[in-house]
């Protein structure tokens, strides 16, 4: 699964640490989310989208 978390993070000049603290997760979790190596729960996806002022659909690109 691809994500646009890094792109949105750059818009707000947030580091991975900043975003992790905002969402309430560890920095490694944000790293793996950006790399598309971790599939978040709906709650986490919502929290990340809220922190980046985006929708889940905008951030997470599901491949058919």
């Amino acid at each position: 699964m691809k994500t646009r978390i890094k792109e949105f993070r750059a818009r707000y000049d947030l580091t991975q640490e900043d975003l992790a603290k905002k969402v309430g997760v560890r920095r490694e979790t944000i790293l793996f989310l950006e790399k598309g190596k971790y599939n978040p729960s709906l709650q986490l996806a919502h929290d990340v989208a809220k922190a980046l002022k985006a929708s889940i659909d905008e951030l997470f690109l599901f491949e058919e």
């Binding site: 309430g24 997760v25 560890r26 790399k35 190596k37 986490l44």
Partner: protein
């Protein structure tokens, strides 16, 4: 219960058990038992040092504002625990078969029960640590 207290209780319980066994062994004059309590103490010291370093690193992270656990780390621990459980079951089954075969087929003595139990526990621990390390690196879900 915080990590330091958990580590302290674990270490104290194991040290108490091993020390008690060593004292009983001395009282009973069982020199072989004393011999294996020394490496067990050595492993305990290594465990305490590794645990102390881990707790120190985690405390630093919590101080920076990161949580101790999140959904990913909890999921990782559950998966590592599952693989450790599976591994220990198959390992114990394997040892059981070896113990059946050794005396009859290879004319070797049966495995010592204490060593088998220690090996199964150590193996589960190693599988847990390896699985946890692997999932931390790969982060697959």
């Amino acid at each position: 219960m915080n990590e330091e207290l958990k580590t302290g209780i674990t270490v104290a319980a194991v040290a108490f058990f091993v020390a008690g066994l060593a004292l009983l062994s001395i009282a009973a004059g069982m020199k072989d038992t004393i011999a294996w309590t020394i490496p067990v103490f050595g492993i305990l010291v290594i465990f305490v040092l590794a645990r102390a370093l881990y707790v120190k690193r985690e405390k630093a992270r919590i101080k920076e504002g990161f949580p101790k656990d999140d959904e990913r780390t909890r999921s990782m621990k559950e998966r590592a625990g599952y693989y450790a459980y599976l591994g220990s079951v198959y390992f114990a089954l394997g040892l059981m078969w070896i113990n059946f075969l050794m005396p009859d087929m290879f004319h070797l003595p049966e495995l010592d029960v204490t060593l088998v139990l220690a090996a199964v526990i150590a193996e589960a621990f190693v599988i847990y640590l390896f699985s946890w390390w692997y999932f931390e690196r790969k982060a697959e879900r």
